[in-house]
């Protein structure tokens, strides 16, 4: 756990809300608030399967609603699989 990160989710949420409010309003974000926000957001960072491990198979709909599984996603030399936050915000 990074320094100065509250364990309580509501305290973390308060930091994230204040950061988001200032960004949205175009108000300056202090270095202290920026660091607190980054630390609260990235606390206990976990990165999933390690190199050499097999990833779990899954089935999810794509942007057109077509169900996709690993079999039809992987190319002849593999797959670059990106987990990201959101396409909306």
């Amino acid at each position: 756990m990074a320094d100065n990160v509250p364990e309580d989710l509501l305290e973390k949420a308060a930091i994230m809300r204040e950061f988001g409010r200032r960004r949205a309003a175009g108000e300056p974000v202090s270095d202290e608030l920026y660091v607190k926000h980054v630390n609260a957001t990235n606390d206990n960072y976990s990165t999933g399967p390690e190199s050499g491990q097999r990833i779990a198979d899954f089935v999810l709909p794509d942007q057109k609603g077509i169900l996709r599984s690993l079999d039809n996603l992987i190319g002849p030399n593999g797959l670059f699989l990106v987990f990201h936050r959101s396409a909306e915000w």
Partner: protein, 258 residues
């Protein structure tokens, strides 16, 4: 560049299919954007971000991770930086994994004495917070060498560094050196001869203003032949990079109140 190397790209988020469809249409994205709307797959991968309180719009997001997966489903390498605003570019991955760069990627050629070096980036364009790739192709005339590490203090090793506040983390690695005997019997120095290449990475800070910019770097080396050793040199260089504006999804249309 990944797709030219037979590697397909897929992105996963907790967004609804509708959000992903709008995003793909707006930005002309053709590769699959998968909707893990209840974060089931995100949890299965063990990357659910448990810092988000239920009720926040960010509840359900993953810790950002990128996996390069082999055709048999085994993870070859994973890329992550511990800040959700940072991401490794696909071209940087293609450079590291396959040694390929795009035709438009910026390159500068430096020449001094017996040494010619092409230094370039994996990408011509990047977003603030992205990690881009760096490469350098060295070529020495026959009979000449430059130094690697570890090295006694009186010699200068070959290195590339960037003194640029836009870059918050950097790396540059050269291949294994060859030992070369020096005057004292049994003593050797690590050297490079002929042609060799190095690769590295540059993590851009976030946020940065969009527009054209230059990344300012330095090549340090000392070239010697079997007969003469020149003084250490520093050559400064610039690589152009276009910083893209922060990508914002289209605003939702206001729904008429019923």
């Amino acid at each position: 560049m990944l797709e030219k190397n037979g590697v397909r790209i897929t992105a996963v988020s907790y967004d609804s299919q509708k959000v992903l469809q709008d995003f793909a249409d707006t930005h002309g994205i053709r590769f699959p954007l998968l909707s893990d709307h209840d974060s089931t797959v995100i949890r299965t991968f063990g990357i659910f971000n448990s810092n988000m309180a239920p009720g926040l719009r960010s509840y359900g997001v993953p810790h950002p991770v990128e996996y390069l997966v082999a055709p048999d489903g085994i993870v070859i390498r994973k890329y992550f930086v511990a800040n959700y605003q940072h991401r490794v570019t696909a071209s940087a991955v293609a450079l590291r994994e396959f040694g390929t760069v795009g035709e438009r990627a910026p390159v500068v050629t430096l020449q001094s004495g017996a040494l010619t070096v092409e230094i370039g980036l994996s990408d011509a364009k990047a977003f603030a917070g992205q990690e881009i790739g760096l490469f350098a192709k060295f070529k020495l005339e026959p009979g000449w060498h430059v130094y690697g590490t570890p090295l006694p203090a009186e010699y200068t090793a070959t290195s590339i560094t960037f003194d640029d506040p836009k870059i918050i983390r950097q790396s540059f690695e050269l291949p294994e050196t060859r030992p070369m005997e020096i005057a004292a019997p049994g003593e050797t120095l690590p050297v490079y001869r002929g042609s060799f290449q190095g690769v590295g990475s540059l993590l851009l800070m976030f946020p940065l203003d969009a527009g054209e910019t230059l990344l300012l770097g330095r090549l340090n080396f000392q070239q010697c032949s079997d007969a003469v050793c020149e003084a250490p040199q520093t050559i400064r260089f610039e690589l152009p990079l276009t910083l893209e504006p922060f990508m914002v999804a289209p605003r939702k249309k206001q729904q008429p109140k019923s």
